[in-house]
């Protein structure tokens, strides 16, 4: 029973979950930062005093990467080379993928929304509140993936005793 439920290749899936949480959420955050940065560069040539307010999409994209980092650190804390079941490995892989790919979705939305709103901010200053609102809606997409990852991770401990 021990070797069937706890094969030696089980930690592979756990570490793949850690890596995918960090990699995919960073891809989303990088896209959001780059796309919003293009818009801020356009705004900076006309109204440099608005750059501080217009950098809010960049900060929000950074938080997407922080979500991936926290999930990675959380899963790594529960990894164990011995006494690690295959089910726990799959759960950790699912947690990492859910946090990472929702981070890609959130970063994609933040990038496009940030770019368009920052370009509009040059002409009309009252779009700032609308920009914050829509960016918050884009950010909670990454938050949902984080919540699912946290829920899955709590199920992974104490599943199967390998000894």
């Amino acid at each position: 029973m021990a070797s069937e439920l706890c094969p030696p290749y089980a930690p592979f899936f756990g570490f793949a979950g850690v890596a995918s949480a960090m990699i995919f959420s960073t891809v989303g955050a990088a896209f959001g930062t780059a796309k919003a940065g293009i818009g801020i560069a356009g705004l900076g040539t006309f109204k440099p005093e608005l750059i501080m307010k217009a950098s809010v999409p960049v900060v929000m994209a950074g938080i997407i990467a922080v979500y991936g980092l926290v999930v990675s650190v959380l899963i790594v804390g529960n990894l164990n080379p011995s006494n690690y079941s295959l089910a726990a490995g799959f759960i950790h892989l699912g947690a990492g993928i859910s946090c990472g790919t929702t981070g890609i979705a959130a970063g994609y939305a933040i990038g496009h929304v940030g770019d368009s709103f920052v370009r509009a901010y040059v002409h009309e200053q009252r779009v700032f509140v609308a920009m914050i609102l829509i960016l918050i809606f884009a950010e909670v997409l990454g938050l949902y993936g984080l919540i699912v990852a946290l829920l899955m991770n709590t199920r992974a401990t104490g599943l199967v005793d390998c000894n």
Binding site: P48, E49, I51, M52, K53, S55, V56, V59, M60, G62, I63, V66, Y67, L69, V70, V71, V73, L74, G77, N78, I132, L143, L146, L150, N153, T154
Partner: protein, 95 residues
Amino acid sequence: MSGQAVAATASEQAASRAALMKLLFFAATLAFLPISSYFFTEKYIWSGNSLYAAITAICAANLVLVAYIILSLMEDQQSFKEAEERKLPDSKKQR
């Protein structure tokens, strides 16, 4: 006229340096605060429960974001007041 122009650029430089310092401070805070709060609260506050520590780290990251938005809004109100104060003496001179 040239003296006023020099003074204007010096204050602009000071303002841009202050804005840069603020941005650097928020970047460093966003990089260090969540992960350090995760490890700190896991060890000392939640006594090993990593789920609560992760939730604490996420709350810390979102707090940094809210602080940034509030600070940028306050700075905008301040610069608006300064622009109004600068307009008043100019209109008096034109008489």
